[in-house]
Amino acid sequence: MSHRIREIALCATIAVLMLLLEWRTTGFFSPANLVDLFLANLPTMMIAVGMTMVILTGEIDISVGSIFAICSVVMGECARAGTPMVVSLLVTIAAGAVMGTINGGLIAYIRIPSIVATLATMVALRDGLRWYTQGAWIQGLPQYFQWFGLSQSAFLLLCAVMVVVTVFLSAAGLKNLRAGRKVIATGSNKAAAHMAGIDTARVILGVFALTGGLTGVAAVLNSVRFNQVPSNSGLGLELKVIAAVAVGGAAITGGSATITGTVLGVVLLSGIGSALTFLGISAYWEKAIQGGIILIAVAVDVLQFPRKDNAHTLAA
């Protein structure tokens, strides 16, 4: 119920923002800008879907930015070595999934708290990459690298299909797949899920692996937009992703999150980021305003839906 209210509120906020942009600016709704906006925020959207599940199980993954950077470089290196695009793409996604699995293993089986484990991998992966690339961008990529050698509109269509399919499959999967049911059960009450015979460690490993894989997909779709691959992409990406999930109404303590909410959260946050430029507000304000929105979103949650056992605590 609370999710429904949150989603309606997000839609209303997005509508207000769009009206404001329509009224005060010109060019925001031009096709070129919308395409740009969509492509720029595509990675956030893909990764946020995985992050929703991670947060649903009560964990967090702050290493996605570093995984994204490594995957981008993997994609570039494969392509420069002349590997066929399909193979490069699969290798990149696999690399993401492997890094996610390492996170998941540290958390689920070695029982390191997820914030610590992914902080460690975030730093280690980023610095490992810096050592490997020495800060140099990957250049001299083959012709067919950019847009998979497709026309721009075909590539755009491909991206749109990818996003829609990912979002739809994950939302439907959480509801209807047995694996999705296990994710929800684990997030709602890990001990009870374990006692009902659910292998909660494997569920947690799974959501981290999935998030890693989706980060790989995001890196593929993002890096082929250009004809060179930067060595430090995805800086601060984890914050944007987690913010979008939180704004989308996920309880950061786990057990409660929806893919719909996350999608709306991504749309709102990316919309605001771009709107500032169009409204002539300095880009320096972007982070501050995003922070403010996250605070409002979480505060509304806390004020509107007080913890269920509050009455009991008061009675004492």
Binding site: N176, R181, G197, A315
Partner: protein, 524 residues
């Protein structure tokens, strides 16, 4: 220390002088939540120095009424009179200052703070000045604990105390607050018999001092032993108020459920089958279990009695794979090694845990989802949950187990305790178990559901399921089980046959009174 305001102490003096004025008087209290009327007009009077029991099935309105008296909830209509003063806009703070204190089944202490800090936090109105007066806090705690005759170190961390000790700290808080009206909600649910005796002697002291006690419990024996008067609630209304002396237990049950119950413990006669489960000198070092041997036959109900912490739940956890132990378990003659609940379930073992809210159910998920959770194979095809099949199964169990719920898709959280327990049980019925371990299956469950759950256990045994029934309620154990294993200090002290078992004998074994232990305690 909390000081009473002038008006409060005046009120107290008045009701001390005029002994006839009830300490607490509630007239026609109503309360509804989102259209559902929880209280339809409760009338209740508490005299000075009396223990007034409040009984009723779960959902009868006891906890809502308690919350209104402690100021946690506001009534929709009706009048609440405390010490002759009509109170409006009641709040927890106002309730405390009028001398109303409450003690719950689960003590609500801060687990990381000491006993003295817990008591001080309840009594101090915030820190006066900038320095915490540790010496005074400890003296105060020692003095309050001394007054109830308990030797408990005020420096101990609350989280390390036993349930009974935590309960005692709660009582010390109530004394410190000069409580004149004490509400106790199932205070004995987690206590052993010896601890219950101590609690009752404390209640006796309170009564002597003129404190009025509202005592809520599902245990009728207990109520008969301690209460002066008994008020029965049903469906949010006061049904009857009786003097406790000479009241008939069957009559009370009839009043509570509104229908007559043929027998409380229907013992089905079942022909026992082959041995379903055999445990040979099982030890589990991480849980302290040692040298446990027993067997259960198909269709047999093996009771497990003993004090809290004597090793019964630990054994259940070992058998269910929650705490793997070296191989010493044989299922129908085959050695098995339980590594995880998933594996235990695949072998046909079900476990209804003691704490249904924390472990038995996922409260935010729907009833049908909870019911299919341990047997997803049956409602899934190629990794896909077949929602219609799942919902149909849910509806079927709701109907069969007479779960009071709006439908299979409501969240388990919305159900009362007894109905939640039925849903938890349905989950295990759905796996079609060969061995069912039930850990305190009727704890905190209302009388009507309790007897229905007993009936279900009997039916399972009839179908040939081997059942292990862990219970701290001796009449339940004696009434339901074919044999009774008595636990003491993490092992089985003896296994008694149904015919030879008595309450006294079980208790003697549980406490290890060597002189009372009968000779013929050999395992069957």
């Amino acid at each position: 220390m909390r000081r009473l305001s002038k008006a409060d102490s005046f009120a107290f003096v008045t009701c001390t002088i005029i002994n006839m004025t009830p300490l607490l008087s509630a007239n026609g209290i109503t309360k509804s939540f989102a259209g559902i009327q929880a209280l339809k007009g409760i009338s209740f009077k508490l005299r000075q120095g009396e223990v007034h029991a409040l009984i009723g099935e779960n959902g009868a309105g006891k906890s809502t009424f308690t919350k209104i008296v402690t100021g946690a909830l506001q009534p929709d209509s009706g009048e609440l009179i405390v010490c002759g003063q009509s109170v409006t806009n009641f709040s927890p703070q106002a309730a405390r200052s009028l001398g109303i204190a409450a003690i719950y089944q689960q003590p609500l202490l801060f687990p990381h703070l000491t006993v003295a800090e817990n008591i001080a936090l309840a009594l101090e109105n915030g820190v006066s000045g900038w320095r915490v007066d540790w010496k005074r806090r400890h003296l105060q705690a020692r003095e309050l604990l001394g007054r109830i005759g308990v030797n408990l170190d005020p420096k101990r961390i609350a989280g390390t105390l036993s349930m009974a000790e935590q309960q005692i700290v709660e009582i010390a808080k109530a004394i410190g607050a000069d409580a004149k009206i004490l509400l106790m909600d199932e205070p004995t649910a987690l206590l052993t018999d010896r601890e219950v005796d101590h609690l009752f002697s404390l209640i006796g002291q309170f009564r002597q001092a003129g404190v009025g006690i509202v005592y809520i419990s599902h245990r009728l024996e207990e109520i008969q032993a301690i209460a002066d008067r008994i008020t029965v609630l049903r469906d949010g209304s006061t049904i009857a108020c009786r003097e406790a002396a000479g009241v008939d237990r069957g009559g009370l049950i009839e009043l509570m459920v509104g229908r007559s119950l043929a027998s409380i413990f229907p013992k089905h006669t079942v022909t026992l089958g082959a041995t379903a489960l055999e445990v040979r000198s099982l030890s589990n070092l991480s849980l302290g279990l040692h040298d446990i041997s027993f067997e259960v036959k198909k269709g047999e109900i093996l009771g497990m009695a003993g004090l809290v912490g004597s090793g019964r739940t630990e054994l259940a956890k070992t058998l269910f794979g929650l705490s793997p132990a070296p191989c010493s378990v044989y299922l129908e003659g085959k050695a098995v090694h339980m590594n995880s609940p998933a594996q235990a379930i695949s072998l046909g073992i079900g476990y209804l845990p003691e704490d249904r809210r924390q472990h038995g159910l996922i409260l935010d998920m729907a009833l049908d989802e909870n019911m299919s959770m341990a047997s997803m194979d049956r409602v899934c095809r190629m990794g896909l949950v077949q929602r219609d099949k799942e919902a149909a199964q849910g509806e079927r169990y709701i109907h069969e187990l007479r779960v009071k719920a709006a439908g299979a898709s409501v969240a388990a959280r919305t159900l009362s305790g007894g109905n939640q327990q039925k849903v938890a049980l349905a989950r295990w019925l759905a796996i079609k178990p060969r061995i069912m371990i039930l850990d305190e299956p009727t704890q905190g469950v209302d009388v009507g559901s309790k007897s229905e759950i007993h009936e279900l256990i009997g039916q399972m045994a009839e179908r040939g399921v081997a059942i292990i029934l862990i219970s701290s309620e001796l009449p339940e154990i004696l009434g339901m089980c074919d044999r009774i294993a008595v636990f003491r200090e993490k092992t089985i002290a003896a296994v008694l046959d149904r015919q030879k078992a008595t309450q006294a004998r079980i208790m003697a074994l549980a406490f290890g009174h060597a002189d009372v232990i009968p000779q013929e305690t050999g395992k069957s």
